[in-house]
Symmetry: C2
Subunit: 460 residues, 2 copies
């Protein structure tokens, strides 16, 4: 519990109007897009690095947890105040400080929404490639803290590949400037990238410098249906090693297709798997050459149908099914847990089979979509969270899934992060030395365990 | 000094024949490709992770420095045993453990030479993009430890963008497995990338998993000459923001051209600057579209000549001058110090002027080449190291250059690392909090300062 004296000090720092301990705010800040929930004691809306630094100093003096938060779109509980304390909302630090095409970079505050940056970059012919599905609301601070990915990872990598520099307020209240505005540097330890994916447990990101790319002007889109998962999996493997690099390669499995057909009028064929792909380039020939090679591999792997879009409307139509998935799943029940596994590329087909087997064992339907171009799969579980028995089954199934996937070289999370949902599973992927090393880093930066405690299994 | 008892223990670990304290070996291991020199007490050639672990345990017990070493091609003294001790040569750990196109990765031991991996990947249609100029001899362990770059950084990034996983022997002798064979992961702290660019000061890299890319089959090459540095610099800035992404964009300045003309029969025109560019793609149209846009910008910025290669022989001819630079410079005197600055892309022209001014002030010729597509410039200084007065002037000039370049947002090193040569300059780029953070990381991992001491200003 945060004492009144501390609350008064917080008000001094941010101003009366930017502090709240009213129930309506605490309820809102108790959750994110995950199933987890815990109320903070109070919340502040910060507007400057200086405020963040003053708050961290206070927190280390009065010893209360601080949970930095952007838009709260985490699917893994990264921004739930697991141990109460203070929620620090960075959403008002939303300035795009600089867009410099001549330097090929942008400088932003952490509260800038992905889509708002994209809207500014598009007319300039540039883009920031990692585009999480929540990009319409998610903030770039959160993207950096989670190492957000998206559907273009196969060709363009993830957030960590674009972070050039960060301003970070350390738990001590000191302000760290890591990295530089140079595209290339080998100058000392790579401190900036240490904070990428650190989930707000090592420092509070207050300014971000991101490399941007000239956006390819031409794209080509194609979709194929497959009679078996094996055929689709083999097609993925052959595409990956075929000498071209699709910008997008997505899968939808049978249960996903069924759910879409039962809840929309898109009328997909009743098949085991659909692959959807996009290629890009600065010329139509480049996009076409790649899409043709990929369509050839679709056909060579028994695709029952292959469609290529010939104009943007047709491309949008091919994308409609994929884009409907999340909203379709949310109609199935009151809770959708979106799992987030990634596996070595050659293990995609095996993993789809594992997902089927685990679903069958626990009597659950696990419709799966995924960014198979980078091995990232999202089984969805629609269930009734208010039924403790169902919740128990879902958690047991998720745990078995992670156990089996890490056993074949997979990772617990491709892009959502560990947070609360995967913390109990950290040991499956990371051995004792690895856990010890992570915990020692946490202790070095945050000896009083002030910042976002209860995440990532950093405490045991 | 390492005691005889410790030497005997080292022999026990690696075998009598893989240990040496003979002068001929100690002299060889006293230097790398930099100007620095200091003899170790002894050397071992290791062949396994277990040997490395046993040696680290011994080093922490008997307290002697350990300097991991690959091919010793460092231009910044990264592998010079600054404080004596043991040189640990990893060159015999040279197995390519796995090439998996289906997983889009390779697993190698640290002693594998870049060119040997490239030779295996080329016939498969794949490549590992970061290609340091020393790639014919440099080892991948060194590339990772230095975060090596090369000429393709603008489009393809540097080594850090390709490291998926590392096996690292920590100073304690514990073996850390960081990262995974998944292309995408957000699972816990990014320990693998922490060791990229850490210059052998945090751990000894014993196994490396690298992402690889399908190699574009088509390239186009063009060269242009410019009457002023300003014209060339403006061309670079406009190319960078023009919406295409050259795979290579190189500059040579007047002094470089002069040195080439005086020492070869290549007969370059007597101009202020030459830009050389390569574009690539999976289709000839993609490469051609980009090269045409770039040649248009060459012309728009007063290029006095623009040549495009129409076949591989012509391309090789355009490259001949650029490739001759290092050997030309080495003919000028007994020592060539290759500086390694990087600046924000828009500062390339300013930096070339700064280099000229500093050269003039100290009476030095600083012929400069560079990878301007990513802002990385290499002024070369040919001088007589045996003349202490000359060496003093060279060091003073380098120091002033770094001071002025960091003042406009540049970084001390784009790809060679800090090592011994830039250690005294760390404070120019990294503020007190940043230095304190780096030093605390070093202390956390290596409390006895065993691993590669005397580098990166980690000790003061």
């Amino acid at each position: 519990m945060i004492k009144q004296k501390t609350k008064d000090a917080l008000k001094q720092i941010v101003g009366e109007e930017s502090f709240s301990d009213q129930v309506i705010d605490l309820v809102a800040f108790a959750t994110d897009a995950s199933e987890y929930k815990n109320r903070p004691d109070c919340a502040v809306w910060v507007t400057s690095t200086e405020q963040v630094a003053a708050i961290m100093k206070l927190a280390n003096q009065d010893l209360f947890p601080v949970v930095p938060r952007g838009a709260g779109t985490s699917l893994a509980g990264l921004t739930v105040p697991a141990e109460g304390g203070l929620v620090m909302d960075l959403g008002r630090m939303d300035k795009i400080i600089k867009i410099s095409l001549n330097d090929r970079l942008v400088v932003v505050q952490p509260g800038v929404v992905y889509a708002d940056l994209d809207k500014k970059l598009t007319p300039l012919g540039f883009f920031f490639p990692p585009d999480p599905a929540s990009g319409m609301v998610a903030t770039l601070g959160g993207n950096v803290a989670t190492n957000a990915g998206g559907i273009r990872g196969a060709k363009y990598g993830t957030t960590r590949d674009y972070v050039l520099a960060l301003e970070v307020v350390l738990p001590s209240g000191e302000v760290l400037h890591a990295g530089s505005q140079c595209i290339k540097s080998s100058s000392g330890y790579d401190l900036a990238r240490m904070f990428v994916g650190s989930e707000g447990t090592l420092g509070v990101i207050t300014e971000i410098t991101l490399k941007i790319n000239p956006k390819p002007t031409e794209t080509a889109t194609a979709m194929a249906t497959f009679p078996t998962l094996e055929d689709a999996g083999r097609a993925v493997t052959q595409i990956v090693s075929s000498g071209v690099l699709p910008s997008v390669l997505e899968i939808m499995d049978r249960l996903t297709i069924k759910a879409i057909n039962e809840n929309t009028d898109l009328g997909l064929p009743d098949v085991e798997a659909v692959l959807l792909t996009e290629t890009d380039g600065y010329t139509a020939e480049e996009a076409a050459f790649q899409i043709e090679r990929i369509m050839g591999l679709f056909k060579a792997n028994n695709a029952t149908s292959v469609q290529m879009a010939t104009d943007p409307e047709e491309a949008a139509a091919l994308w409609a099914a994929r884009k409907s998935v999340y909203s379709v799943l949310t109609r199935l029940n009151n809770t959708v847990a979106v799992e987030d596994l990634a596996v070595p590329l050659s293990k995609v087909a095996d993993t789809l089979k594992i997902i089927e087997e685990v679903g069958a064992k626990y009597g659950l339907q696990l419709p799966t979509v995924g960014h198979v171009g980078d091995g990232n799969l999202h089984p969805g579980i629609a269930y009734d969270r208010t039924d403790p028995e169902q919740a128990k089954v879902v958690h047991a199934a998720a745990s078995e899934l992670l156990e089996r996937v890490t056993a074949i070289g997979g990772t617990l999370t491709g892009e959502h992060g560990i947070g609360m949902s995967k913390a109990p599973h950290m040991h499956m992927e990371h051995d004792a030395v690895s856990m010890k090393t992570m915990r020692s880093l946490k202790k070095l930066f945050d000896p009083n365990n002030i910042l976002n405690p209860g995440k990532m299994a950093l405490e045991s």
